[in-house]
């Protein structure tokens, strides 16, 4: 097992800087997710760790050793590609043993580890089949088995679930989590799917424009996004943002004519001077919904009611802006209904209106 360090890694393609001085530390045995929209540089960063891209600057350190100049095969890594890249001309068994055969592992060892990996991925019955006779989900399992059979110190995965249909993706997600617990391999996992990131990661590094904008635990990323970008990218539906003005020396913020009380920690923050413009971020489930006017509650009108089974999603018009509010499914709401939304003070995030940065940087975040 090993730690992974990306040390000021920069990778350019022509005039485009795909990865811009990224520093990231992955602890031994940690499941680190690189999350971001397409083109944010997450896959390039992963390929730099694998040694499949030549970096323009920076170092890759795996298990304390600088591997920057080492070939991919000499870094102690294994990788699962988005396309699986399961060799069509080899049986499942030959695919799984490919790496071991290259390493010239003893036959008994190959047999034992193949069986172990196949059992772990539940593909023991498929060992003599060719990939053309496998479903997408089965090929995916073969690709994962081929990687973990190497007992790599570091396992790299590039969007491994994105080619599966929704149900399979859900199953495989849980499988991968179990697998990580059982193998304990340090894992770097790339995805653009925020649900995948939240469910799998010990930590999530959110990337945008080639830099990491926040790196933290899933709950910190969700509850205390470092910027409007993170708040908007993570969560479905995303965080609601309201324009507000600071009042009472930072003890409250006025949104759509309503003064909302703030937790005292915000009072001292930079950008909280009286009259300052701020952006107030509130998650859809972080409202108290009330049938009558109360202090600190925003008046609104229900526009759309969407029952989603487990919850019901309301689209509410609040002073010319639209908010998404998620409520319990048994509550009675209908379009045109008036209601009052009180943001829960401990769930509010205040951001500056320019770059959208949170006014209190994420507590305990290792984000650089």
């Amino acid at each position: 097992m090993a730690t992974v360090l990306l040390d000021r890694v920069t990778k350019r393609f022509g005039r485009i800087t795909a990865v811009d001085g990224v520093t990231l530390e992955v602890q031994d045995g940690q499941f680190m997710v690189l999350l971001g929209p397409s083109g944010c540089g997450k896959t390039t960063a992963l390929r730099c760790v694998a040694g499949l891209e030549r970096m323009d600057a920076g170092r890759i350190v795996i298990g304390g050793e600088d591997v920057t100049d080492r070939q991919p095969g000499r870094r102690g890594i294994a990788m699962v590609f988005q396309s699986y890249a399961v060799f069509p001309h080899m049986t499942v068994r030959d695919n799984i043993t490919f790496g071991l055969r290259i390493r010239k592992a003893p036959a008994v060892e190959v047999l034992r580890r193949t069986q172990q990996a196949a059992d772990l991925l539940q593909i023991s019955e498929l060992l003599d089949r060719y990939p053309a006779h496998l479903s997408g989900g089965q090929r995916q399992r073969v690709a994962v088995a081929r990687a973990i059979v190497m007992q790599p110190a570091v396992l790299l995965m590039d969007e491994p679930l994105s080619n599966l249909d929704a149900l399979l993706r859900l199953q495989m997600r849980a499988e991968l989590k179990r697998l990580h617990r059982e193998t304990g391999a340090t894992t770097v996992y790339v995805t653009h799917d925020q649900v995948e990131a939240l469910s799998l990661g010990d930590r999530i590094a959110v990337m945008r424009h080639g830099v990491i904008v926040q790196c933290d635990t899933p709950s910190a990323i969700y509850n205390r996004p470092a910027s409007t970008f993170v708040g908007g990218f993570i969560g479905s539906p995303p965080m609601n943002f309201f324009r507000g003005t600071v009042e009472e020396g930072g003890r409250s913020v006025r949104v759509a004519g309503t003064a909302i009380g703030l937790e005292p920690r915000w009072a001292g923050a930079e950008g909280m001077g009286p009259g300052s413009e701020v952006v107030v971020g509130v998650r859809p489930e972080a409202f108290e919904v009330m049938a009558e006017a109360r202090p600190g509650a925003l008046p609104g009108v229900v526009v759309v009611v969407e029952p989603l089974g487990g919850t019901t999603l309301l689209t509410v018009s609040v002073g010319g802006e639209t908010a998404k509010v998620s409520v319990a499914p048994d509550t009675d709401h209908e379009p045109g209904q008036r209601l009052w939304l009180r943001p829960l003070p401990d769930r509010m995030r205040l951001m500056e209106p320019g770059q959208g940065r949170a006014l209190i940087p994420t507590e305990g975040g290792a984000h650089r």
């Binding site: 001309h89 290259i102 006779h133």
Partner: protein, 298 residues
């Protein structure tokens, strides 16, 4: 097909266009194949099996088999094919792999290697004739460096190795490019992920070539082999340019019987024989290099 009524009716004009367009696009190829391949094929069969006055006969084939040149022609055709095609595929593969390694200037290398594609077989024969003829470039060069005093005669039946060598060199020079093009295209069809997977697992260059590249290139190798082998049996312009009839080949005999002896029947018998050999060899290739059904479609 979607049941009628399920989809909104398309405008008449648009519908008739979608129905006819594929056929319209296919038509030129179909006409070309029909006029220049299917019709002559039927005609050749007719000529080779029918008496001029009507009725089936094996007479033309008997004349072909009894001809003095026949034994030599079939031997030479088989031998030249057996020597030339493997050399072409080997060199074509090496060049294709070089091009695919994307070294600096690989595109120029590709263009230069592809030049012989644009040269007709007759012209290729003349180019190499100017090398190997008595007062050709080879003798001039050898004379200049003092290797020979008198010009040597290479293209004569007394020098079968030289004569054969010249034909092989010409054919390799002329037609390796088509193999290369097919294989370059085939290599570019192989997804990069396969090679990167091999890299991550630490496969060496040779291992990658042997366990990843060549197996995945097999469909293209098969195509190249079939095309080159069939064309090798149709070989005659370069051979005639370099050797006259000293090295008879099957297609050359068809040409001589047609042009020299004015006997289209025996010429057609040769053509049908060439086709028969081509069919058999193609079948053998398809079987020997067959993708196991399990492997088809990765």
């Amino acid at each position: 097909m979607v049941a009628a009524g399920e989809v909104p009716e398309l405008p008449r004009e648009g519908r008739s266009r979608t129905e006819w367009l594929p056929y319209l696009l296919l038509a030129p190829s179909l006409v070309f194949l029909g006029v220049f391949f299917a019709y002559p094929l039927v005609q050749a069969f007719g000529l080779s099996f029918l008496r001029p006055e009507g009725g089936l006969t094996a007479e033309h084939f008997r004349r072909m088999l009894d001809d003095t040149y026949f034994r030599g022609a079939i031997t030479n055709s088989l031998l030249l094919t057996a020597i030339v095609v493997p050399i072409q595929v080997a060199i074509g593969l090496v060049i294709a792999l070089l091009v695919n390694s994307r070294f600096r200037g690989h595109l120029w290398f590709l263009y230069i290697c592809a030049i012989p594609l644009a040269i007709s077989d007759l012209a290729a024969g003349l180019i190499w004739l100017s090398v190997f003829t008595e007062r050709g470039y080879l003798n001039t060069l050898l004379h200049l460096v003092g290797a020979v005093r008198e010009p040597m005669t290479y293209l004569s039946a007394e020098q079968p190795v030289w004569l054969y060598g010249a034909i092989i060199a010409t054919e390799v020079w002329r037609a390796t490019a088509i193999v290369m093009i097919i294989l370059v295209a085939g290599l570019q069809l192989i997804p990069r992920d396969y090679f990167e997977t091999a890299d991550v697992f630490g496969a060496s260059g040779w291992r990658k070539l042997w366990h990843v590249t060549l197996p995945l290139l097999r469909p293209s190798l098969q195509t190249a082999l079939i095309i080159r082998t069939i064309l090798a049996f149709q070989l005659f312009a370069t051979v005639i340019t370099l050797s006259g009839r000293q090295v008879p080949v099957l297609a050359g005999e068809a040409y001589f019987w047609y042009g020299l002896y004015r006997n289209p029947h025996v010429a057609s018998a040769y053509a049908v024989l060439i086709m028969g050999i081509s069919v058999v060899i193609t079948w053998v290739y398809l079987r020997a290099l067959r993708l196991r059904e399990e492997e088809a479609s990765g």
